[in-house]
Symmetry: C2
């Protein structure tokens, strides 16, 4: 038996307890919970086969009462002695994709980001579209290319045409970018023919992860009218390995910014689902931005309500991301296209000049939030490195 030492300032204290899929050398991925710098093997520690599976889906489908019960058991467990075989150093495990992604939806919920992108992509029009303050604008992304943190990103190839060029050309993206986002994971599906109200958010959503929604801006700019982004986004979406349960985010819940005009009734709730979560974007080891999730215009509860209002069902494993998180300040921008203003204002990164991502660059996005009793909890990070394109132009 062993006791896990939890430093008072650990971002993975008893107020957090995020779930992930881990393996040790020679073993199959299974579910663990992170506590301080340890991972507890839940199939062993709780003797429940649902945690012997490689993804959280079956556990998530059990619903909030079971999530609470298990969280209480884990809390009790890590306060006492645990079977030493069930405890691994986080440095000794490999982390995998924690969920089997059903549908992936990406929103566009930051007013600052949408305004900046509008200015950059459509310099001749009003930056914010007329619909933007009436509904959380979103679109479906590619579920099959959601990948875990640590997986290298091969620079994508595709068609791109600068406005000054007469015809499109094919080749590696020259404007490879990040989008720092939060993602929310659906546990409990909705019944056909029902809608999910904003106040039913916690009946369905299991937890949250940090998302890097890689974006090839040149490919995106050429392809996206009129049906939206496709290949500019579909090559990869990275997520952090630890799913922070909603229960750990109680102290982070805040009001969204004032929404004016008042949204239609189906987007109104009585519960606060703004989230005071602070992100950091690290580019080659240097923090270049600190996007504040609390500034997001639309709450994740409104995103889910909107997604379901036409009768579309939600499934276990659905992942919906917030869209780039950008605050009002330049050093709060969650995408490099904003940070460098479309490449026109290069930044100094670790002693070198950058506009967009270069081969070999590494990006890590991390997040922390207030936890219980003045503590802080961590999401960990989503990290990846850019590899050169494998095709030629």
């Amino acid at each position: 038996m062993t006791v896990i030492d939890i430093p008072a300032d650990s971002l993975f204290g008893i107020g957090n307890l995020p779930y992930g899929s881990f393996s040790t050398p020679g073993t199959a991925p299974r579910i663990g919970v992170r506590v301080a710098d340890k991972v507890v093997d839940l199939a062993l520690a709780l003797d429940d086969d649902v945690f012997a599976r490689p993804v959280l889906n079956d556990f998530m489908a059990r619903g909030p009462r079971e999530w609470s019960r298990v969280r209480a058991r884990i809390t009790e467990l890590v306060r006492g002695e645990i079977d030493a075989d069930a405890v691994h150093d986080v440095a000794d495990v490999m982390m995998h994709l924690p969920i089997a992604v059903a549908d992936y939806v990406d929103f566009y919920a930051s007013e600052h980001h949408a305004t900046n992108l509008g200015r950059l992509f459509r310099p001749d029009s009003a930056p914010l579209m007329p619909n933007w303050k009436h509904l959380p604008v979103g679109y479906h992304g590619r579920a099959g290319t959601v990948i875990p943190s640590g997986t290298d990103i091969v620079r994508p190839c595709g068609q791109r045409k600068a406005p000054t060029e007469p015809a499109p050309s094919f080749g590696p993206s020259r404007r490879l970018d990040i989008e720092a986002e939060l993602g929310f994971v659906v546990g409990v599906p909705s019944a056909p023919g029902t809608v999910i109200t904003p106040d039913e958010f916690a009946d369905h959503v299991f937890g949250a992860v940090v998302v890097n929604d890689w974006s090839a801006r040149d490919i995106q700019a050429w392809e996206y009218v009129p049906l939206g982004p496709f290949l500019g986004k579909s090559f990869a979406t990275s997520i952090s390995p630890w799913v922070v349960p909603l229960a750990a985010l109680e102290a982070a819940r805040v009001d969204t910014p004032v929404q004016d005009p008042e949204p239609l009734p189906y987007l109104r709730g009585t519960e606060k689902w703004g989230l005071d979560i602070d992100l950091t974007v690290e580019w080659n080891g240097q923090i270049v931005s600190r996007p504040p999730y609390a500034q997001m215009y639309w709450s994740p509860a409104q995103m889910l309500a909107h997604t379901s209002v036409n009768g579309a069902t939600a499934r276990t494993g659905d992942l919906f991301a917030s869209g780039t998180i950008s605050g009002p300040e330049p050093d709060q921008r969650g995408a490099f296209i904003e940070l460098t203003w479309g490449g026109a204002e290069p930044v100094e990164v670790a002693g070198e000049t950058r506009t967009f991502l270069q081969d070999g660059d590494e990006v890590a996005i991390a997040a922390t939030a207030p936890g219980p009793e003045g503590s802080r909890i961590g999401f960990g990070e989503v990290r990846a490195r850019i590899l050169p394109a494998t095709q030629v132009g």
Copy 2:
């Protein structure tokens, strides 16, 4: 033992042999093949457990050599005597979703449709976007709401705002429409880091179905700028129950219309993957349109090559649809918004006047193609009825 009588003019003769998921009362869905007006239970007839599963995915993942081998065995089988227990009247079985859909992508590959929609949605601009003839425009749809033929469609609710209205309102869609399409199902996944060339189409794609991509035009018009259609499409996409294998479409393969400008090299192939497939759209029992698939500008081989060119992997169960099939003539238009010119030119349907779909309306889209030796093969149909909205405005 029994012998299946196959009339010479059957659309489900030996040249077709499409696969579906069927059940008889009190039994679980399993894989069958359609022959004339019979369904052959393949798990029983071929003694292969892969057909005892409710969806085709595991069989599709086996790849083209195995697809050919099984097709040859089935051909031999239905030419001789079959265990009577393995043969059911098609009228006695219930059909289910034949595939577990991984990612769903919808294209926009008909020049006539894209031009018509451009005129209707953006009357002040050029109808065809500058990118349209350079790449098959597409976007991701909602995989979780792909449903089998026969499932009723509840009229979706959502936000809509006519240009003349000062603010959006919420309520049942007033412009509920169809899109007559063909869908293609991926069997063999692509390896990470590889692309699929147009000539590798048949190494990955298992077969085709008829698709009705239901569309709430008022919801779509309000939401779709700048990130594309979302709730206007995500409530339901119906597919026909029989997956026609590519092997059955040999006689239907034709050149696409001339593509000018010549596409970039990654979209060029030496094989013909235009398809001479004729659709019919039946509205309350009356055929209102005959969309010709042979007129589609982009081939499905180009669609798949485009989808993969940025390195995005394809998975078993990926479904990609062509987008609305419209020919140059008014009675070849595959969406009612085109047929009634945005509702401005109502049509007479079974003795009543129609612009968009009314509650209680029923739509059936069917398709046939040339088969071997002058025969024709059928896809069957995708059929559904509109139920009233369950929410109030």
